[in-house]
Symmetry: C2
Subunit: 351 residues, 2 copies
Amino acid sequence: MKNISDHYQEVGQWQDGSGPESDIVISSRVRLARNVAGFLFFAHAGSDQRMEVYDLIRTRITTTALNDNFWFLNLEELSEMERTLLTERHLISTQLAQGAGARGVAISHDEKLALMINEEDHLRIQALSSGLQLYETYKTISGIDDILEENMEYSFSPDYGYLTACPTNVGTGIRVSVMLHLPALKMAGQMEKVLRAARDLQLAVRGLYGEGSEPIGDFFQISNQITLGKSEEHIIEELIEFAVQPIIEYERRARRMLMAGHLPVLEDKIYRALGILTHARIISSDESLYLLSYLRLGIYLGLVKHIDLETTNKLFLFTQPAHLQTLCKKTLGTNDRDESRANLIRKYLSE
Amino acid sequence: MKNISDHYQEVGQWQDGSGPESDIVISSRVRLARNVAGFLFFAHAGSDQRMEVYDLIRTRITTTALNDNFWFLNLEELSEMERTLLTERHLISTQLAQGAGARGVAISHDEKLALMINEEDHLRIQALSSGLQLYETYKTISGIDDILEENMEYSFSPDYGYLTACPTNVGTGIRVSVMLHLPALKMAGQMEKVLRAARDLQLAVRGLYGEGSEPIGDFFQISNQITLGKSEEHIIEELIEFAVQPIIEYERRARRMLMAGHLPVLEDKIYRALGILTHARIISSDESLYLLSYLRLGIYLGLVKHIDLETTNKLFLFTQPAHLQTLCKKTLGTNDRDESRANLIRKYLSE
């Protein structure tokens, strides 16, 4: 079985910057919330019942056709650093990482699928894709869901649909989100307007790490909040039609206007970011996100030609604290991390 | 005769970064204030008498041995841009540049000497040297003063000495100053202490352009304020012994402490400055001074090896507005200047 330390050498396949609209849509994510019939919800279950649910779902995964494509991790056996590493790769949620009792995750070898056991619900199935691929991503996750459901009875109500720990997930149990990179709208001071429009559509706007994270470095996650009374396809269709496509158009227009009207101002921001990235000796995690965000924009606009997207994507990931420390093969305090981060960035950008 | 447009191609000899203690002392300056006997002080003179004084002193310069070493400029014949160019080169004061009526300046070919006519006094003689060379600079200026005095009667009182327009110059009429580069004291937060000590010694602390200019980019001009009741040599001795030498020691100690204790913090500041200088597309005059100030420190500390002091000294001068526009051969608005400045800096630092 694959070791967790193999996991920091490359970015996950869904983070390779490919896929439709990838100049603006970093990734698409679909997750389903499911609970096993006949067991208390996670928050109300005692440690014995948590363990029972854990064993049950784990067995279902490892004894079906899924087993070949997944590797399984027992969260209780992982160090804090390893759990943070998985969070930085978006393979587990902060809640699963920081939770208590029997918890696990099955991760597909390409990292596009993750099955979390005993997060807020008994089972959370997550599928990730690069670019805007919500329908395809939903189709994949739906296939996994079907395989599991053949072998396991979910809590389901004919009236409400799938039952979940939090009422906001009842029904389809689906959450659909896209991670957007909107530097031009931010620069043009139009983000407030976009955020207000998204909230009017009852969508949630969050940061790089979803629930509980603040937008940083011009990255915004947009997701549905309503899961009841609509089909999964309808939820995806609405998100794309009323939010994602219009925002992509706004961002593209803002980029064109910056290119046409204020090119030196735009170039200045992008090249200063590059200058600092290639010269600084101390860089915080937040600052590196901001600077790399400008660099990413510069690459997509054709203003930065000698650095490729692959390198930039690696840096987004490898400059996060747990990846950085794993790469350096030691635990580092904040100051040492900021120095190691600057060294790592210089090394990658000078290659 | 040399044309003023020849004057922007190189830095003046006194700005070449040579001379004793030049890691900290940029330059030494001595100036004498003199007035011609039998004429009203400049501020009280009518335009006819201003012209008479102008003609008289000009003739004394051009008909003595001085003529071979100097070229003469009639301020009224110069454009505002040309006058600013001379100010940026420290060859005339802002007061002379912006004054009214018959005014002139004789400048030695090496730019180490400048004789201003009808500034605040009828005659201001200035001598500049690189590094800490106050005695030598005074010796030079004294020689010039003697030659002129042989041919012209100065306003002089046996009781008070040389009479000047402003009482603070009465006596020797001498002002002695050094331009210091104190980035380490600034970074260590110790500048306030140094400035207080200098003021306790009745010294004036000013910016790059002397009277009326604020310290910027870690450059501080320190000068005597008392000119009466002490010999010139005594004034120079006191300035060096009680102010310049101790400040040099403080700055050196602060640099050593930064190198020993916080090397990455120091390197980070210096290399970020270099990164911005080599990448920005828009740089203001003030910002370039700040950034070049760090670069200069980095070169002297041996942290920046691939850029030489000569290039840095050129950039200090050429990034000033009038030099920049003269180099670009056109008048530029602020935004265009900031772009041209960034282009110029990148060009010089990439060579």
